[in-house]
Symmetry: C2
Subunit: 394 residues, 2 copies
């Protein structure tokens, strides 16, 4: 068998998602893309901010020797300095460039963290509903995913987390604003989580890392703010990217930062820098490092997503869906009107609406609607949602 | 222990290399960079070709929606089409865009291949002297590195390869033009290797892949050509990048292609596409994909490296070193005048010359000189090489 057993089974497991995408593509070919309401992809469609185009134009006219060469595996020190300065304000903690690494997106950063910290069999807690890729990132490096549900509003369920932590627990991944729920964890909850992890680390004589995956930090609605995790916990690592807030997901530019007082800091940073190298990332793309350094205060026009959030929430409400209104990111995660989310998503597909079943996020009975699509797509989907609910509940 | 045991031991093992770099940096600070002859890094210093600057300027002025968005994990189909066309000529084999993936450099591509094919304990043969990162790429995904020496001229040693292949052998990595030896394997040797792998695959009822890592393909000297591996073997995968031939190592843009008739092709391509996604690469950087598509006929001015090859070879010859003259890449791998290569490299360091001991490439008794440095650096190193030889052999 030329392909590894694990990858073969992964490919088979993920084939139903691919099937959905293929059917979506077929549908678009048949009915025209404008007549298919595709809410299945988290591909941000707000254009990069105007400053981005200026900065990148300047960057490529710089043809000094070495601008496209290798640099230290952790990234240009001055780029890290620029990000550390912004993060210091954001995290209300004094972060220096030495506490940071530039990475190939947040996905690259999370793999680097897992590679650096996991011994075989170590457990990492993820909170359902969760970004399905976390399971792969953990497994890639020999870890075991421990799924813990959140509460009815997708907030932290401390009793469930308490029960799940054991002597093998190496880390917990939190993602706030959350994909797929749109929830933002309040500061009090982060404090309480920090206390829980401190207690458990002490009880088991281990270090449990809090890994905050926060690429949606700047995309929030109705004046909701994302609290600084570094204020709540010291053994914390923030992983992020410019995929969403600058709309550059295809360019693979991200970063990670450790709390300046994290346990065994230098050893950890050395291990992550080595991981960045040997996993084949080597370094984050050079040109984009230089570009994002200049754009620390820039963000896509988030009012676009705020407007769409209102649009889709009104449509879902009118159609009778139950859901927690998203505070950030660009997803809403309603309950499906019937328990079988895969079946309901198929009913939506008959209405030319594409969504992802909650089962794909460890939360059956829900579905994810990604509203990073043109207003018209949202507006024109209203009838379809109503029809699907009618058919499901008659 | 916050860091994984394996990464901790890796960091310790690689610390002597870091120590060397640190001493080099100290030396440059003390004596001035122009008085330190740093041959330790394979960081290409020929500028990218003039066309590159034109093409990237055009590329960034295109602000159409989605130019920085996600695309299929394997890369833009039209970019792959452009590369497949050039490769079809190069490999004398009809390659289509569906046989290819865009990757984050060759390092990313090699990790993707290993992730896709290796079951735990599967063996991968590497040919010493070898690029030390191969060992990490294999281990990352549960494989075991089997080191096989080449012959006195760094050509394939078929008897040694024959002895090393067993039922666990999943692949052999070849790298021609070679880092660190500069050797290019002749077509007859590739044919013979192909026959050996076919025989062994049949005998063990396995599929043994030939993985050709060839980022130096376009950098050759004295009219030496790199033969097409796809002509010699069907279960072959070519991995490459634009790091050397366009001098863009910091931009992490590369690709891989499978032989159009490779065993279980679609399953393998699906697994590699999934690996590209879940290892966190997601896709090769979007902008650079669009740029390299336009530069299939462009190459850095290789006469720069050819001139330097002559310069360094003359100096080494004058100083009494024994070596095989490189046919490609930008390295020469002379024998050290004493068996202890680490000790000899320390003697060179006293002359402010930085080289890497052959031990770092699985070949003690040699050292690697990377001649991708300004002519002046090479010219001014002549006395130092002579002095070190004198001190070593007196």
């Amino acid at each position: 068998m030329p392909v590894s057993d694990k990858m073969k089974s992964y490919a088979e497991k993920s084939s139903w998602i691919r099937k959905m995408f293929e059917e979506g593509a077929k549908m678009k070919a048949e009915h025209g893309a404008e007549n298919v309401f595709d809410f299945s992809l988290g591909n941000p469609d707000a254009p990069p901010p105007e400053e981005f185009n200026k900065v990148i134009l300047e960057a490529v006219t710089d043809t000094s020797p070495g601008v496209h060469s290798y640099m230290p595996n952790g990234g240009y020190p001055w780029v890290r300095e620029a990000i550390a300065a912004r993060m210091s304000a954001e995290q209300q903690t004094d972060i220096s460039h030495g506490d940071m690494l530039m990475t190939c997106g947040a996905a690259g950063g999370l793999n680097v963290v897992m590679k650096a910290i996991l011994n075989p069999g170590d457990e990492v807690i993820v909170l359902a509903p969760y970004f399905v890729e976390y399971g792969f990132y953990i497994d890639n490096h020999g870890g075991v995913t421990r799924v813990v549900s959140t509460d009815n509003n997708f907030n932290l369920d401390f009793e469930a987390i308490d029960r799940a932590v054991c002597e093998k627990t190496k880390a917990i991944i939190i993602n706030s604003p959350n994909n797929p729920s749109g929830q933002i964890y309040p500061e009090g909850d982060l404090d309480r989580l920090g206390q829980l992890l401190r207690d458990k680390s002490a009880a088991h004589n281990t270090t449990i890392f809090m890994i905050a995956d926060e690429p949606y930090r700047k995309i929030t609605f109705d004046n909701h703010a994302v609290p600084p995790v570094f204020k709540s916990y010291t053994d914390a690592i923030v992983v992020s990217s410019y995929s969403k807030d600058l709309s550059l997901p295809g360019e693979r530019i991200g970063y990670l930062a450790v709390h300046p007082d994290i346990k065994d800091k230098q050893q950890l940073l050395d291990a992550m820098t080595l991981a960045n190298r040997i996993l084949g990332f080597v370094n984050a793309p050079a040109l984009m490092q230089r570009v994002v350094a200049e754009l620390q205060d820039a963000t896509v026009d988030t009012s676009i997503y705020a407007r769409r959030k209102e649009l889709i929430c009104n449509i879902l409400r009118d159609a009778g869906f139950h859901f927690t209104e998203p505070k950030g990111a660009f997803y809403v995660f309603p309950e499906t009107p019937i328990k079988d989310d895969v079946k309901f998503v198929a009913l939506l597909q008959n209405e030319r609406i594409l969504a992802v079943p909650g089962s794909g996020f460890g939360a059956p009975g829900y579905m994810r609607i990604a509203f990073c699509v043109p207003d018209k797509v949202i507006e024109n989907s209203a009838e379809g949602f109503k029809n699907a609910v009618k058919k499901a509940t008659r």
